[in-house]
């Protein structure tokens, strides 16, 4: 899922400083699950903004609403009236949600309430870890299901560097060395031969090196008369 963290209240207050009527928009998908921008966080952020700005002597009218997914037009249609009625939208969606609102409601002004951080998993209650870099050319089949792009600090593709010490990365002793994990995993499955095979250079054009990415599925597109 997409992992995000809410911005500090002071930063949010600066972002909404120009507006008198603010609509906090939560998102019911990834950022709900990582406790950053769901319905509960939207309500808490709205209440915090109302109280904080009131204490500052400039009490703002702050409401909140949460949609199932900010990144789909259909769900954004549901809040059209509320968005148009507000001076500003504070999106508690990921960066995609913020941009979707800006794109879907060109007359409105939208600011981000979260810092979108990475694609990852809740490894335990209250802990989230990065797992995928969305490089567009997945090599997990070669690395025992452990991604060296996302989990090696240097995104190395040819084994651990000299900074791997006792299974940990030189950047932080709490960070496991991805290549140690890969080696251990392949070794335990008796599949070390997989990383002995020569691999061609990775195709980075599918990653950010190729510019903004886009997928078009002609089989799924609607014909002009259906759209």
């Amino acid at each position: 899922m997409i992992i995000a963290e809410r911005k500090p209240l002071d930063e949010i207050k600066t972002l909404v400083d120009d507006a008198q009527k603010v609509l906090v928009v939560g998102c019911g998908t990834c950022v709900t699950v990582c406790f950053a921008g769901g319905s509960r966080e939207a309500q808490i952020t709205a209440a915090s903004l109302r109280m904080s700005t009131k204490l500052d002597g400039n009490g703002k009218n702050v409401g909140d609403v949460t949609v199932q997914r900010q990144c789909e037009w259909e769900y954004l249609d549901e809040i059209k009236d509320q968005v148009e009625d507000a001076d500003m939208v504070l999106s508690l969606g990921c960066g995609i949600g913020v941009q979707a609102i800006a794109e879907h409601f060109p007359e409105s002004w939208v600011v981000p309430g979260l810092n979108t951080t990475f694609l990852g998993i809740p490894s335990e209650q209250g802990v989230w870890e990065e797992r995928c870099a969305a490089c567009g050319d997945c090599i997990l089949g070669l690395t025992g299901g452990i991604c060296p792009i996302a989990r090696c600090s240097k995104s190395l593709l040819n084994g651990p560097c000299g900074g791997s010490e006792a299974g940990h990365c030189e950047i932080d002793p709490d960070v496991p060395c991805a290549w140690q994990l890969i080696y251990d995993r392949l070794s335990s499955k008796d599949k070390l031969h997989v990383i002995l095979d020569l691999q061609p250079p990775k195709n980075w054009s599918t990653s950010r090196d190729g510019g903004p990415r886009k997928i078009v599925r002609e089989d799924l597109r609607l014909k002009a008369e259906e759209a």
């Binding site: 808490i44 209440a47 109280m51």
Partner: protein, 68 residues
């Protein structure tokens, strides 16, 4: 007692199974507690959401007590 003394409004979120039952018992025993304490029964103190606390303050409470 001075009449202009500040008396804080306190919202007391009380667990149904212990603190609320205790407050109920206190009432049955005619034990008085300050009128500025308003008891709100919740199913369990674990049910308390930060939002309830924020809403209490937003609606004018001076303090919030959680008992459970």
């Amino acid at each position: 007692m001075e009449t202009n003394q500040f008396v804080p409004d306190i919202i007391a979120f009380c667990c149904h199974y212990c603190a609320y039952a205790a407050a109920d018992l206190a009432g049955s025993m005619r034990l008085a507690y300050p009128a500025a304490v308003k008891v709100v029964e919740i199913p369990c103190s674990g049910k308390l959401d930060p939002l309830y606390v924020l809403r209490a303050f937003e609606d004018g409470a001076d303090g919030v007590m959680v008992a459970g």
